[in-house]
Amino acid sequence: MTNVIQVAILGLLLGGVYALMAAGLTLAFGVMRIVNLAHAVFIIASAYISFFMFENLGLDPLLSVVIVMPLMFLFGVAVYQVLFRRIEGTPRYTEMTVLLTFGIAIIIEGLLGFFFTGIFRKADPEYATDSFIVSGLFLPEGDILFIPKGQFFATLLSMVLLFGLWGFLRYSQTGYAIRATMQNRAAAQIVGVNVRRVSAISFGLSTALAGASGALMSYLFPFFPFRHWQWVAVLLALVVLGGMGSIKGAVIGAFALGVASSFVVDRIGPTWGPMTFYLALFIILLVRPRGLFGKEVAV
């Protein structure tokens, strides 16, 4: 029993970070119908920023979020204005974004490889390898649970950021405009929302979330430039499971698959972990193609 709880805890802690990563990706699709294949390479680029700030300036990766997020926000707005605006309103826009972001991903991957080489990196703040140890409580005599500190802080920060995102979308004027644009772009225009501005801001938010995810990745998962393909596949699986464009769906999907993969790793073996995501992807596409919380969309 203790082992089951332990595995579930590890899964939830993993899910928290996945949720943050997937939220940004699904936001870009929900507001702008952009399928951003470069989302994971943005995360890895941000991981490099956090990694080097830790190595050279001793800045804690968790704190680096304060710098990386605004930086990636501005980067996202710039990328949107320069690259996406010119294809806005074209027929087959979503398909165009797949090609465009594929290109962006390859370019950034190449640049990262050129500047930082292809070797594995991982920041190692003290808490990254430390754990809280829980005993007593409801546990049988002598049993203990490990809660890895790094994962725990990361999930905590993810939840704070996602809660902030929720509050922003729910209560701010811009949040109203973003939700309105997600639900009905034409109607948003009709009531006077400048959907171009809202799109640029939303893309900036999406990349800012990638930035925060990268800061967490810098010490949680070893990374190198090419790694992003593996990540984007996992993130797309999460987003499709939750329903493309549904932030709630992405978060729930992330936690569910985090826990599921954690059990697969424990029961079957570590090499089968990533398979969980693809298997879930196949099943959801067969059974409910719109995802758990998605709407029917014609893409």
């Binding site: 109203y176 309105a180 639900q183 009905n184 034409a186 109607a187 009709i190 009531v191 006077g192 400048n194």
Partner: protein, 246 residues
């Protein structure tokens, strides 16, 4: 009195497609109501989209109270007091009725004014007040249309365009909508309406405009159009003589 809205020689179409509007010109006078009729594909909805800034014309100009709207964004057009209520799917389905109204006043920063206008909308459409907390997507067709019109009033428009407000509604419900349209006219709002029930639409309006193949084929006092046998035959269909184009 100079026209409040002057549309001159508009050519417009979608993407790389052909011109839907082909040199259309029209003058609209303040505080009058206009019913635009014409067969499918005549360009009625396209004309509204051009005026609202949702579709930029390839040539020609739209001048509202002396200002050109032809190159403006939809939010800039709305800020001048020109408001568009499209045919369908005009609402935010996962927002409540109240939130939809708040969105209608998105450009209004004065909260007291928003509240005041919302009270006015609730007074005009009491059902919206009853359903204030409900998601817009869960309302009936007639209620959704009322919400779309109520939301348009939140901006206090000078000119209001209604695209087939009675589409898909039961006759009694459509009748309620028409009564509200009449009230809007009495408020002094200039109303442009496209109505698939041409007979009914023309009865509501002061002026009738017949659109065909992207130009204004004929215009004149609405009651005159209703009585013109040629137009009845060409654009109102035979059923019109029985008083029903549905």
């Amino acid at each position: 009195m100079p026209p409040i809205l002057e549309i001159s020689n508009i050519n417009a179409g979608y993407g790389a497609g052909p011109n839907i509007l082909q040199g259309l010109s029209l003058e609209v006078e303040e505080a009058k109501s206009y019913c635009i009729i014409g067969p499918n594909g005549a360009g009625k909805s396209t004309l509204f989209k051009v005026i609202a800034g949702l579709l930029h014309p390839r040539s020609g100009d739209v001048v509202f109270r002396g200002e050109s709207l032809a190159r403006r964004r939809p939010d800039q057009v709305l800020a001048t007091g020109v408001c568009f209520v499209p045919q369908d799917q005009a609402l935010f389905p996962e927002m409540s009725v109240r939130e939809n109204l708040v969105m209608g006043a998105y450009l209004v920063r004065d909260r007291a004014l928003v509240r005041q206008r919302m009270d006015r909308v609730y007074e005009m459409f009491p059902i919206l007040k009853e359903r204030a907390g409900q998601d817009a997507g869960k309302l009936s067709g007639g209620q959704q249309q009322m919400l779309a019109m109520g939301r348009a009033l939140m901006i206090d428009p000078i000119l209001l365009m209604l695209d087939e407000p009675s589409l898909g509604l039961a006759p009694q419900v459509a009748q309620q909508i028409f009564t509200r349209v009449r009230e809007l006219e009495e408020l002094g709002i200039t109303v442009l309406i496209v109505e698939q029930n041409a007979q009914r639409g023309l009865e509501l309006a002061d002026w009738g405009v017949v659109l065909d193949l992207g130009i204004v084929r004929f215009e004149g006092p609405a009651d005159g159009i209703l009585e013109d046998p040629r137009i009845r035959e060409l654009y109102l269909g035979k059923a019109a003589s029985a008083g029903d184009t549905n």
